[in-house]
Structures are given as structure tokens and as C-alpha cells.
Symmetry: C2
Subunit: 371 residues, 2 copies
């Protein structure tokens, strides 16, 4: 039973109710800032790894295209919005709905993209990541982390809360590798943008990556930045830094699914004192995914990180591309869960799951008419 | 006589009282966001042009070093804080005092620096500028301007006002050239970081630049972006964009001296409708400078852009490096005037000129003890 705070029906909660209630009572109805860190890893171009793009090659453009869609309302680096094979539109449509409805301030962080996003962005020095099978996926992890930490502090200034999130195709594979290296995961519990989660392929790539780096599972339990350097993607050091820096000052909503679990695991190791001042913000699609297990992953990281999820439902949508979310496609990404949770919180519940769906329809129709 | 708004003694006003009163009544006591666009132009490395650095070569590092000082509290790209020859410290000391006292959110925009600033920054695609004597100082002016416009809109979201400013050595020479090309200036009225303003040298460089570009004074009256491309520095397209984008939504304080006059002249030409929604924020040192004429420049640009200046006074300072400001050194830069004006406004006058001086002493002492 919640003490002191009643969660509206647009949201669901998993985990520590006391911490969730404490955080919500401090930020309910107050202004926050939303950030999305966009990045690329060559890992996503390995056929079969990622469905976050129409083809393996196009997955490298998804982060930049999502950023352009959020800021400019249209994409420049590719034609049309990012889609999964089959035409299911990017979750950035929901993110945009949440940002539009709430009027929340939002900024893109370029963690390191394959192509230059055609927008203003925060830059922390990161570059597009190598395939994790090289065993050294990233450079300059510590300096990017440190700049991220500083940015987190800057964003916390004069804001009641900070939302972090990601758009980085291939990111569940890198998350699996990093959490395995840290010993957080002993089995493959990460999600996928496809309902047919290619678990065998991901396991094989992680095994290959560990062999290349000469690392055994659990070896890097105490060195999360090294785990990210070997097996991570460029979204990670940026977001670990922003989370650690911001949560020193204000609550943070970690928007995303299993990709962000790797960020939280690393942050908790580097700055255990921030536990109690952040929670995950995601979607019911992710929480209900039969092929991943967000709850179990979080239980491994800490039992003091509540998960808030938005009860957005596309089953009545007139658009098949959106109905597909109900069939296990996409589920999370581009901070759609975090932005939705943030919009509901900052509007003190005036934004509801129903308003969000209506707005997504408006945005989706605009995109289709535009094409 | 002011109607509806009484300006506190820490501030002075020049220009349209009605517009100033209207803007102040909309933003007094409300939250704003401060930005400083840092940049470099090879023009500053021409001996004699700029005193914003200990040597001509070091002026190329001043923007990045000021940014590091504001964000990290110390510099990485050079040893010690930026100084004028003789050891007079950067005006970023006053900027930092204003930001610390007000708790205002602040971000650095990297307009295009000679060295990479060791901080998180907004990036808009600009690069370090060439010498104006080449006749084509900058590339990609329109795309940087457009990204700046978008950033201005993003910063205006959920803020009552936006402050823009600059740290770019050599910037009064580029401002003179741009305003001459636009026909705004017919004589050399721009300021200098030295009390011995090298007017002859600046005039000669502008003449050389015009010959190289095949342009006559006034030729680019209707094409400010072309004037900036030929003769500007990388601070300009970024700030013109941010000003135009932000002032569509909220009042803007243009923090700076005669360098920012070029930005305002260009912005007023591109978006005349923003007049009435921005004012200049500067220092009494700049307003009282006998070797430049801010008032006259502003009269040429528009009679509807009020100037608010902070009555900070270093004459009683125990530090000679600060007393030098009273002798005509430095006067403006790194948004020290805009940040001070912004701090007074956002704190509803609780921050005063006296508080600012006390805080500068604390910061200056810290820097000297550190060295």
C-alpha cells in the first residue's frame, strides 16, 4: 500500500513503493527536463541483431533520425521516420506526443552517432561504437562519463527532476554483454525490438566478444566503465554520467527498458548513494514482454529502484503499425516510456494515457500524410 | 519615467523605457536560462587585434578556457584563467559570481573553437573562423543559424527568459566588419578589451577584408548571413539563430557589448518582429567607455532595443587585477553583463551589484590561491 501518494490509473508501479512514493511526492506537478541520448554501435549492423530500422544498415541511422524527428518534427538523415521491418513506426511518436502535451523542456545528447544528426545537440566527446565482437567497443569512456556527470549537474539546476533515455539500435545486445561482464546477469533476460527476440545470436556475439577481450563473465563486477569500454555502446557512458551527476541533486527518471538496465547497474556501482533518488520509467509493453524479464533484471541490480510504467494501449488504434506494439513489436525506445511518465508527473496527472494515445494518432497521421 | 516598473539601483537603463518596463514586468522574479557561445577566429591571432589573452596565440584559447571556468570551475585547455596582458582576469569571474548567486541554469554553446573545450556543450556544427582578411571567414553560416534558431526555441520552452552571450577574442573587429558591410556603421564605434583600442589596425583589417571579398560598405545591408560568412566569427551565426528562435516565444537578454551589436543588427534584419521582445544586458564599464559608443551603435540598429547595465564597481576592490576594470580594461565578455542583469532579474532584485562584487572577490581569491 502506498503511503502519502496515490498513483493514477495511467501509471503502474513495480518495486519499492516507499521510494516511489517519496520521489513522486517531491516531483509531482513540478517541472522536469527530458533528455534522449542518441548513439550508434556497429553491432547493430550485424544481420539479425536489431530490428530498429528497416535493414541492418539502416539501424545505424535510427538514433540520429529519432533525434531529428523529436526536435525538427521530420527527419533529414533518412527519408521518412525510422521503422521496423514491416513498417512499424519508431516509438519516438509516443515520446513526441508526451513532450508536446506536457510542454516539457527537452534536449538531445549525441552520444556518438554513425551520421551527424541535423539538430542542436549536447556533445560529450563520444564516437560511434565498434562491434562488441572486437572486445574493445568504445574509446574515451571515462572522459565521456565525466562530461556526462557535469551535464547531469547542469540539468538538475533549477529543475525538479531529470529524465534520461536512449535511441541506440543494437543496445540490448551491448546491455547483455555489459551486465554479463559485471556479473549482474547470468542468463539472457534482455529485450528486443522484435517479438522474435534473437537470443541465440545475441548469446553467441557476447561469447565472441568475451573471447576477444579475454574476459570471463563477472570479471568486471567492480569496473563498470571498463565493461562499457569493452562491450558497451556510446549511449552508456553519457547516460551513466548524466544519471550519477543529476541524481546527486534531484530525482531522475531512467526512461527505457533493458538497455537502460546496464546504465543503472553501472551507475549504482559507481555511485551507490544515488539509490533512492531515481526510478525507471517505461511502458506496459516492456513490462509484459514474455521474451525478456525487466523485473528480474532489476531485482538483480537493486531492490530499491522502483519501476513506473505508462499504461498506454494501442489495441484500439485504427493504425495497424501502432497495433503491432500490442503484438510485441518495439515496446520501448527513444524514451517513450520515460517521456510519458515524465509528462504525467509534471502535469500532475492532467496528461493521461488516453491523451497520449490520441496525440500519437494525430502525430502518426501527420507523418503518414507527409510521406 | 518608468510606468509600472521601478528599476533597482543595481541596474541602469538606456533607451526605450516602455519596452524595458514591459519586458521586466514579464520576467521579474522568474526563471531564465543563461547561455554563453564560445568561439575562436584566427583574426584574434593577428598581433595587436585582441588583448583577450596573454599573447596573440593564447587569444585562440580564451573562449574554451572561459567555458571550462564557468562549468568546471577551473581550466584545462590552458594553465590558469584567461588574462589580459598584465594579469587582468577574465570577466568570466563576474559571470560565475552571477550564476552562482542566482542558481540560474546555464549552458555553453560551442560556436566553433580553436581547441576542444573540456566540458559538455551544445554543438551547432560551427568551426573556428578564418581571418577576416581572407574575405570568407566562415562556412555553413545558414545551417548553424538554423540550428541556433531551433536551440533558441528549445531553450525558451518552460523558461521565462533566455540570456545569450559570447566569449570570442577578436570579436569587436569582426563586429565592426559585419556592421560596416551591413551599412549599420559608417565609423568605428566598437569597443576593445584594452583601454588603448587599436582602432587604426581594426580599420585597416576591415578594409583589407572588404577588398578580398570584393564588397563595399553597405553592400550586404539585406543579407546579414552573407556579411557574417565573409567577415564574421563563429559566435555570430549561432547567437543570431538563438536570439531569433528564443525571442519568438520569450524575452531575450542579449548579454555583451559591441560584439553583440552585430548579432542584434543581423537578427533585426532577419526577424524584425522580435524587436520589443529583447534587450541588451551589459556593464556600466562598457556604457562609460570613452573609446567606443554603445549607445550610438544601438541608435543605428533600432531605437526600440533598451540597454540594461549592471552598476558593478571594482574601484574599492583590494585586487589590482579587478581595479583595472575601472581603468578601461576588459569591460565586457563571457556574458558578465548579461549574467549579472539576469541574476538580478531572476532573483527579483535579491542579488545586488554589491553581492556580485563580494562573490567575485571570493572567486578571484580562490583562483589566486589555486595558482
Amino acid at each position: 500500500m502506498m503511503t502519502g501518494f496515490e498513483i493514477p490509473p495511467s501509471l503502474g508501479l513495480y518495486g519499492d513503493e516507499k521510494i516511489a512514493s517519496d520521489i513522486l511526492s517531491r516531483i509531482w506537478g513540478k517541472r522536469g527536463v527530458f533528455t534522449c541520448t542518441v548513439a550508434s554501435t556497429m553491432t547493430s549492423s550485424i544481420p539479425g541483431v536489431s530490428d530498429a530500422g528497416d535493414t541492418p544498415e539502416l539501424t545505424l541511422y535510427t538514433g540520429a533520425a529519432d533525434a531529428e524527428l523529436l526536435v525538427n518534427g521530420k527527419t533529414t538523415c533518412i527519408k521518412g521516420v525510422p521503422i521496423n521491418p514491416g513498417g512499424i513506426p519508431t516509438p519516438a511518436t509516443l515520446t513526441k506526443a508526451a513532450l508536446d502535451l506536457s510542454g516539457m523542456q527537452f534536449f538531445i545528447v549525441n552520444g556518438g552517432c554513425f551520421v551527424e544528426p541535423d539538430i542542436p545537440y549536447f556533445y560529450l566527446g563520444g564516437k560511434c561504437g565498434e562491434k562488441i565482437t572486437t572486445g574493445h567497443a568504445l574509446k574515451d569512456v571515462r572522459t565521456v562519463y565525466e562530461k556526462g556527470y557535469r551535464l547531469g549537474e547542469q540539468l538538475a539546476k533549477d529543475n525538479a527532476f531529470v529524465v534520461i533515455s536512449e535511441s541506440c539500435a543494437g543496445g540490448t545486445t551491448t546491455a547483455l554483454a555489459v551486465m554479463t561482464a559485471m556479473g549482474v546477469l547470468k542468463e539472457n533476460l534482455v529485450s528486443s525490438s522484435s517479438p522474435k527476440n534473437p537470443k541465440e545470436l545475441k548469446n553467441r556475439l557476447v561469447k565472441e566478444a568475451f573471447e576477444a577481450a579475454g574476459i570471463q563473465p563477472g570479471d568486471l563486477a567492480d569496473d563498470p566503465l571498463k565493461a562499457i569500454e569493452c562491450f558497451g555502446d556510446p549511449m552508456m557512458p553519457a547516460n551513466v554520467g548524466i544519471l550519477c551527476g543529476a541524481a546527486q541533486h534531484v530525482p531522475v527518471i531512467v526512461g527505457g527498458g533493458t538497455q537502460l538496465a546496464a546504465v543503472m547497474a553501472a551507475a549504482v556501482k559507481l555511485h551507490p548513494e544515488i539509490v533512492g533518488n531515481f526510478m525507471q520509467g517505461t511502458t506496459r509493453w516492456l513490462m509484459n514482454d514474455p521474451n525478456s524479464n525487466m523485473k528480474k533484471i532489476m531485482d538483480y541490480i537493486s531492490d530499491r529502484i522502483p519501476i513506473l510504467y505508462v499504461n498506454v494501449d494501442y489495441s484500439e488504434s485504427p493504425y495497424e503499425g501502432l497495433q503491432a506494439y500490442e503484438w510485441g513489436y518495439i515496446k520501448e525506445g527513444t524514451g517513450c516510456g520515460g517521456a510519458s511518465v515524465g509528462a504525467i508527473i509534471s502535469s500532475a496527472g492532467k496528461v493521461t494515457a488516453k491523451c497520449l494515445v490520441d496525440k500519437v494518432h494525430e502525430i502518426y497521421k501527420g507523418i503518414m500524410d507527409f510521406d
